[in-house]
């Protein structure tokens, strides 16, 4: 074996070691989260309210808040992202206007989430006077979510073959009709995967929420589903600490005795949720595709 071959062998060995080390770190991370966290997760933990000073608190309200905020933010951002991506992929010409807008979306997607949160604080909490509330949080999450969701939907639309468009136009449909009735349905599996992946990101976001949805989770009356009552779970004007904010909050200034238990349990729930989002994004996208294509 000559010198270069030896060198090649050693280098590749080192690369293997590095990759092995990284796998170890990552495995440790995931293992640590689940092994320390999952034993603390029980049905009671998932449903009972948090306690500030004594042990035995749960994450029920925070979990509900996270899910509610996620749904609201998705409901607001989906039509906007869909419209924007339709324009970018179907109508936009290759000119300065389009490239300016693309740059703007890129800038928005790379903004630190704390900056987005501060903007939401300035605009929704103070200017619009919504206070620390679900609605401020949902609107801020919308801003946080828009660039990535737009990009994901645009990719899904771009994946639809041009034959489909020509087919629609050939049948005498207008461009917009072609898009709504042919292109968007054809891109649906990709759009759904994109939505679920974005949901995972929104679900775990905290920095954008601490000054918009607030850091407190007042008790809710789960028997009252009238959104106009302030202690109703659906009320958009109540402050709503989410799961991710809760982990940050209790670790920065929490004083309950079982702080580590609560936060490791909450972290495990959060990561489990992300895992489910990731896996289901692929699965559901594929299922929808199969269902749509096997019908014909």
């Amino acid at each position: 074996m000559n010198r270069t071959q030896k060198q090649s062998r050693t280098a590749i060995l080192i690369l293997r070691l590095i990759a092995g080390l990284v796998v170890l770190i990552l495995a440790f991370l995931i293992g640590y989260i689940f092994i320390t966290g999952l034993p603390n997760v029980s049905w009671r933990f998932l449903t009972s309210p948090a306690k500030a000073f004594t042990a035995g608190g749960g994450i029920g309200i925070q979990l509900f808040n996270s899910i509610y905020l996620l749904i609201l933010a998705m409901l607001i951002s989906l039509p906007i992202a869909l419209g924007a991506s339709i324009y970018l992929n179907e109508y936009a010409k290759d000119n300065w206007f389009t490239s300016t807008i693309r740059t703007a979306i890129e800038i928005l997607s790379s903004l630190p989430s704390v900056v987005v949160g501060l903007f939401g604080f300035l605009l929704f909490v103070i200017q619009f006077n919504y206070g620390f509330s679900i609605i401020s949080g949902a609107l801020t999450l919308t801003i946080f979510n828009l660039p990535l969701l737009t990009r994901n939907i645009e990719e899904a639309l771009a994946g639809v073959s041009d034959d489909q468009r020509q087919g629609g136009l050939g049948l005498g449909l207008s461009k917009y009709e072609t898009i709504i009735h042919i292109v968007v349905p054809a891109a649906l599996p990709g759009i759904i995967s994109g939505i679920i992946l974005c949901s995972g990101r929104v679900f775990g976001e905290a920095a954008a929420l601490i000054y918009t949805a607030g850091q407190s989770a007042p008790a809710l009356n789960f028997g009252d589903w009238n959104p106009f009552n302030i202690d109703s779970p659906l009320s958009p004007l109540r402050p709503a600490e989410t799961l991710a904010v809760h982990i940050w909050k209790i670790n920065s200034e929490g004083i309950m005795p079982d702080l580590t238990k609560v936060s490791s349990g909450a972290a495990a729930v959060l990561v489990l949720a992300i895992l489910i989002f990731n896996l289901s994004a692929r699965y559901i996208g594929r299922k929808v595709f199969e269902k749509m294509t096997s019908v014909n």
Binding site: L15, I105, L111, F119
Partner: protein, 310 residues
Amino acid sequence: MQQNQKLAKQLMKKSKTARYERFGHLLSLSALLLIMAIVLGIIIFIATKGLSTFFKDHISLKDFFGGVIWNPGTQTPSGQQAVGALPMIVGSFLVTILAAVVSTPFAIGTAVYMTEISPKRGAKILQPVTELLVGIPSVVYGFIGLSVVVPFVRHTFGGSGFGILSGTFVLFVMILPTIVSMTVDSLKAVPKYYRQASLALGATKWQTIWKVVLRAATPGILTAIVFGMARAFGEALAVQMVIGNAALMPHNLVSPASTLTSVLTAGMGNTVMGSLQNDALWSLALVLLVMSLFFNLLVHFIGRKGAFKK
């Protein structure tokens, strides 16, 4: 005659479909313009708030960027306003650069392993794991930092455990998956015939990787690193949980320090809108925004220089 006119009117009128088309076009355009307005809004809002420290409160740029005492609303021993943001700026840059320096070799090594050495194992194990890790919320990283990294640093290096070093460790793990997955993409974009040509010339596998594949993918790898740095620079909560939050110039890597984001998250709730304390925080947010724009510009610049010529 009248009938003709009526007919002419009818013919000149847009059909229902044409109006629907116009409606759809404008609807999607307005969604796009809304996003554009949000971006402009963010920049304008934060710039006006951030600049009022200098225009309304008459703090000089030198005091803000050069001062080392941060306690807005009070005065330094020498009689200036104590709005020196240098400790936070240094803290932010230190953790970002250190994290990038530590993770880059690991990330490139892993990415090369995934694409060049063992693609099968890479696709089966490493790919899904990095995807999952990119999605793990930053508070979870912060929590692990708090319960694992901080005690570890305290035992090994002494001090309280909170500081730049802990922040670097946490950010290293946080940006590693980001850099890995983007580097993998850029390595995969290198055409196969580059490798074949190199191997056919008698180069070893390592020579091919080092002299051909990595060279060809350099712009993509640089973009990945810049993205990782942008993420590290803007990361708020994970860093805030482990860095110690003392607005002091870092003396060493294990003394408590702070970053722009950590001071922002810790301080914004305790100040009154419009006061100097509050304006100074907005100036920090503005620095953050400008740095984010700078990272963006850098990515564009690298992309234009190194676009793959096919």
